[in-house]
């Protein structure tokens, strides 16, 4: 085992800034991409739903 304690682990032998800076940026961007895609999908589904409904209403009004 390389680590004697949690503080030892977080200190990363004096390289905490570099190692944890890499880890933080990596997971920040991965999480950001996943959340961004979720939001894109949700807004898209809402817009499409509204668009389809309004198209149908227009069609019905014309045929009426």
């Amino acid at each position: 085992m390389n680590w004697n304690s949690w503080s030892d682990f977080f200190a990363m032998g004096g390289y905490a800034l570099y190692v944890w800076g890499s880890v933080a940026m990596t997971f920040l961007l991965l999480a950001g991409e996943v959340c961004g895609l979720r939001m894109r999908r949700r807004t898209l589904m809402k817009t499409l739903e509204r668009w389809i409904r309004s198209n149908r209403r227009d069609g019905n009004e014309k045929s009426a």
């Binding site: 990363m12 570099y18 800076g21 890499s22 898209l44």
Partner: protein, 260 residues
Amino acid sequence: MSTVNQTLPGKAGNERFHFFRFSSPQTFFPLSGKMIPWFATAAVILCAVGLYIGFVVAPTDHQQGESYRIIFLHVPAAWMSMFIYCVMAFWSAVGLTLNTRLSSMMATALAPTGAMFTFLALWTGALWGKPTWGTWWVWDARLTSELILLFLYIGFMALQASIDDPRRADKAGAVLALVGVVNIPIIYFSVQWWNTLHQGSSVSMTKAPSMAMTMLLGMLIMALAAWAYTLAVVLARVRCIILEREKHTDWVKEYVEKKA
């Protein structure tokens, strides 16, 4: 229901186009939806195992101390940045020559993830360079060509975003992607062609890896995690693009109403 789609003789048509079955957005859409949870789960599990091996099991490096642990993020990100570009160029070429819409959509869906991995390779590289080389950045062949790769991704996305007609945007982007692919061998061989500050590759096809087995294992598992993540995210993005571009078709309308 009307039978508009049955003008073609159904059976013969199906058999003739069997090979290209999943090249149609309509058949690809449900299939990709089923695959996403599997790739996402694989990514989470592989990432957890890889990080455990890399940050807990793998021994300290006798030269670089603990700073070398950045390798478990840096190398998979750098590999993905180049690999995604090759896949993007491949789908661009297919889209350009065979005029298949889905191929071009795949190329478009790959670009943001590729750009993200390129940025991560540069970011983690800078954070690794500072303690080992004493500088965040040098205009070395490897680093500069990787920065050019980031600009290629950004240029591809900006070009496609600036053209309103999606089919024209596909073609323009494809040409850019194909021209830029020349940069990939430059990145890959830069450490051999030029005398650079960046170290040579630690893993190659031809000779035994110059690193401990546990380190290599952790790195390969992290690379697999990056693959699974990319597949999940790109499939999710291409599904959004399909819905946007195929919104005039009956099947998208049915899908949206069923989900609503």
